[in-house]
């Protein structure tokens, strides 16, 4: 029996390995579970279609997450811009607001005690800073691979990560290390 990249077991392994993480990334980038599900499926199908050209030594994982990030960017770009209004301190930006009102399929994802503040803090980050942090976490990518994925210089990516991690670090008391 041959076990090519398009045989059912390879397909299942690909889906089980990547689908939840890609979904997690997209949900945090976009803030809508339904759209994240659609884009996750599109990401996986695009990756699956080019499995024949996949070489294990290549950065396949980075490539899968690049597809996901590009799809998310396209979706965000297509959304009508909201009028620029000043928001009071404490108001949630759109992504944070949607995280507050939309029930994701996995309630453990947002309802777990202790991660709520982190979720809101992440949603409050700039889109580019959030992208770097989430690629690091869900994609498990090294920063040099994140730089390739986002098309930004490594120094810029590290500066984004520094800014974002400092903000998240302020959420945890110093004795919680």
């Amino acid at each position: 029996m041959t076990t090519g990249p398009t045989d059912p077991s390879s397909l299942e392994a690909l889906l089980v390995t990547f689908a939840p993480r890609v979904y997690g990334l997209l949900f945090r980038l976009i803030g809508r579970a339904d759209i994240a599900e659609d884009l996750m499926q599109e990401t996986m199908l695009r990756a699956f279609r080019s499995l024949d050209t996949y070489h294990p030594e290549g950065k396949f994982r980075a490539w899968v997450f690049r597809i996901a990030v590009n799809l998310a960017r396209d979706w965000i770009r297509r959304q009508p811009r909201e009028p620029s209004v000043s928001i009071d301190e404490g108001d949630d930006p759109p992504v944070a607001a949607s995280l507050r009102t939309v029930d994701p399929p996995d309630k453990g994802m947002t309802r777990r005690e202790g991660s709520r503040r982190v979720e809101v803090a992440i949603a409050r980050l700039s889109a580019a800073d959030r992208e770097v942090l989430l690629l690091r976490y869900y994609g498990d990518l090294a920063f040099k691979d994140i730089a390739r994925t986002t098309g930004e210089p490594l120094g810029t990516v590290l500066a984004r990560a520094h800014r974002a991690l400092k903000k998240l670090g302020e959420l945890l008391p110093e004795d919680e290390l």
Partner: protein, 175 residues
């Protein structure tokens, strides 16, 4: 030792520094409170990030839909590959024929520029008339017939003028 910059602390906190450099930074931490606070803050940030569910469950019906679509894509792909392998020489021959016919059809039009009806601008029409006259004159030259031109106008100058007209014409048409 000069304090390492902030981006290097990101690499340190994330475990992406080579061991030799990591050792240098750890030695620095022992004697620098500011950098120790910096590194701890980044490590806390990573710890906060780790409170998120890393592999959130995807709804089973979504996964099932995805499996179905992936299988369909695989079937369609193998069908296309099979057809391509069987008929690739026919397709190649057809492509050559189409290319040859296309070239035969397009080439005369390229060699015989004409004033097209969509050029309605009077100024542009005048320039086209000048260009057409120039082309006729060049054809006369190439046929060995002496053109009726001013004695101080060389062929090179005429070509340059024609090229200049064509450039202007292209620019106006593009605009």
């Amino acid at each position: 030792m000069i304090c390492p910059n902030e981006t290097e602390w990101v690499l340190y906190a994330s475990g992406e520094l080579p061991p030799s450099r990591r050792q240098v930074l750890e030695s620095h931490l022992a004697g620098c409170d500011a950098c120790r606070r910096e590194a701890e803050s980044l490590v806390r940030g990573l710890a906060a990030l780790a409170t998120l569910e890393r592999t959130p469950a995807v709804r089973p019906e979504v996964m099932e839909t995805l499996r179905t679509r992936a299988r369909e894509a695989a079937t369609a792909r193998s069908t296309v590959v099979s057809i391509w392998h069987r008929y690739r020489w026919v397709a190649a021959a057809a492509a050559v024929v189409v290319l040859a016919v296309g070239l035969a059809t397009v080439t005369p039009k390229v060699c015989q520029p004409t004033v097209t009806p969509w050029v309605t601008d009077v100024h542009l029409q005048e320039e086209l008339a000048e260009i057409t006259a120039g082309v006729e004159m060049l054809e006369a030259c190439s046929n060995g017939k002496a053109p009726d031109v001013a004695s101080d106008a060389s062929d090179d100058q005429t070509y340059e003028e024609l090229e200049f007209f064509f450039d202007q014409l292209r620019a106006e048409v593009d605009a």
